[in-house]
Amino acid sequence: MASKIEYLNGVLPSSEWKMKLTREAYGEMLVELGRVNENIVVLDADLAESTYTKFFRAEFPERFVECGIAEQDMMNTAGGLSTMGFIPFLSSYAIFLTGRAWDQARNTVDYSRLNVKIAAAHGGISVGQDGCSHQSMEDLSNMLSLVNMTVMVPADYWETRKMMEWIPTHEGPLYFRLGREKVPTVTSEATPFTPYHTLPVIGGGDGVFISTGLMTSRAVQAAEMLAEEGVFSRVLHVPMLKPLNVDEICAAARECGAVVTMEEHSIYGGLGSLICRVLAENDVRVPVRVVAIPDMYLMSGPPEELLGRAALTGENGAERMREVLGVR
């Protein structure tokens, strides 16, 4: 039955996925961009090994600014560098960049509309064993509320590479979220990244999964499970949460009649909140379920088990879809 699934845009069935790091794609692309664009500069806060800015540091030490363990200083130093025509990419963990340095991101970078690219590693709870202090389930909410900020969450390694090709052409503050763990390559080298658009991942009309980041792989898994039952749900990946392509979201919801959102973020202020508001304001009256991190702090544990604890699974996605479609 699964063979009837219509995979779109070079997306692969789960049986063909490989596990790869988004932050490694980031590190590789920084070097490739640095070779052709001398305005690219990179900042880190004592995490260059982890964020993979170490590749750039090795090849372009004169354009690498190690800020030490001082994320607030790093955010504003990047802001200052941007005013001199550089395109600064700064890296640390999502919780520190969007938590500790939020005031700097808001008042200096975003309010001044500076051309700073914030690359946040270790987004979500799949950080795993480090536990709650290093997990980030609030970063999208923190960044989406900044007026000038573009906010993106790649699904995987390949999409991170595609996004990175585009980012230097974008003018203004931009946040994008990478993960700690290897995540499935849902997309392939052939999959396009089209800024300001959503990415149709799987065709279908029995409800639509609207997902972002790592959870797009879970949405595909959910769709594959449902296909075994003869239910063909669409999967729409949202690589760019802000600005959001409202028309594509509303059209998919109207065409499919039911929505399940899936994200590795708090139920407050992330993709689910966003989609609910957009559908409500556009009078798209379809049932919606939000698969997101419930209002709780997670703990240490293997990433897959943590995702399970928060019910961020394909099984839960499929179950929520059955619920809204009334096919249980």
Partner: protein
């Protein structure tokens, strides 16, 4: 770009006018912070007129020096200095803090050409200024000097010390910071609220070149700026350290009735108080309206482009 090269006497007189404009604008707005602008007026007038290499007719001239007001609540002073340097009409200062004015309560880069970075949330400007200085150096243009002004109370912010550490680590000698050392903040005297002493020793220990000066003695002020820029690459070989000038100042300086009272940090003068202040500065007006009239038309008259993005 040449500076205005005013004489010490001319700087003194201009600083008096700057105080006049700051107080009149804040009174007009019925909102704003007079205390810091009056304590920093003398030394920042000297900086803006005689040391800061900028082009008022092209605020985005790439080779310009940069100025960052890290203590953004002293915005009225920043604006008055810009007006008198020729960035926009002096009378436009009377639109301060009003709806749709470019003169936001705290400086906004996207509102006013010539503001390098928005500020107001204390403790952030020095990091941004340091990023500019680093960027100038990475561009091969260390002769661009970046000046940053901080309040002394602002030094209680942790981000400031991150920047201080960073600039010393990188030997960023095209960065010059001025501290308005007036010992006053909203809740009282700095030494009582949360002391920052020994300030010169702290900066020295963090690797900065430290200059101390009386911030109201214009001879001492210009000598301090000369010494400071003398250590930057703009005047030859840089000294290899960032420089700080600790300007000893008095909040509300120039208006003896109101001097050194922390309550004047952020309180706008009422009309009768304004008249006393202006009188003590040597102005003989019957009404605030006369002071406003002396400042001219309220049209902006400055750069209209938005190259600041």
């Amino acid at each position: 770009m040449p500076t205005m090269n005013l004489t010490v006497d001319e700087l003194r007189e201009l600083a008096r006018t700057i105080r006049h404009d700051v107080l009149t604008a804040i009174n007009m707005a019925k909102s704003g912070h007079p205390g810091g602008p009056l304590s920093a007026a003398d030394y920042l007038t000297a900086l803006w007129m005689n040391y800061l290499s900028v082009n008022p007719k092209n605020p985005f001239w790439p080779e310009r020096d940069r100025f960052v007001l890290s203590n953004g609540h002293c915005s009225a002073l920043n604006y008055a200095l810009m007006a008198h340097r020729g960035f926009f009409n002096r009378g436009y200062l009377l639109t301060f803090r009003s709806l749709d004015s470019r003169l936001q309560g705290h400086p906004s880069r996207t509102s006013l050409p010539g503001i390098e970075v928005s500020s107001g949330s204390l403790g952030q400007g020095l990091s941004a200024a340091h990023g500019m200085a680093l960027g100038a150096r990475m561009r091969g243009k260390p002769q661009i000097t970046v000046f940053c002004n901080c309040g002394d109370g602002e030094l209680q912010e942790g981000n400031i010390w991150e920047a201080i550490m960073h600039a010393a680590h990188r030997h960023t000698d095209n960065l010059v910071c001025a501290v308005d050392w007036n010992n006053a903040q909203i809740d009282g005297y700095v030494e009582n609220v949360k002391g920052i002493a020994p300030l010169p020793d702290k900066f020295s220990a963090f690797g900065w070149r430290v200059i101390e000066a009386d911030g109201h003695d214009m001879d001492a002020v210009t000598a301090a700026w000369d010494l400071a820029v003398g250590g930057t690459p703009s005047r030859g070989k840089g000294c290899g350290q960032p420089t700080v000038i600790l300007f000893k100042t008095v909040m509300m300086k120039g208006t003896p009735t109101f001097e050194n009272i922390p309550g004047w940090h952020g309180r706008p003068p009422k009309d009768d108080e304004l008249m006393v202040m202006l009188k003590e500065l040597g102005y003989k007006y019957a009404t605030p309206e006369e002071a406003r009239a002396a400042m001219g038309a309220r049209e902006y008259g400055g750069w209209e482009g938005n190259d600041g993005k």
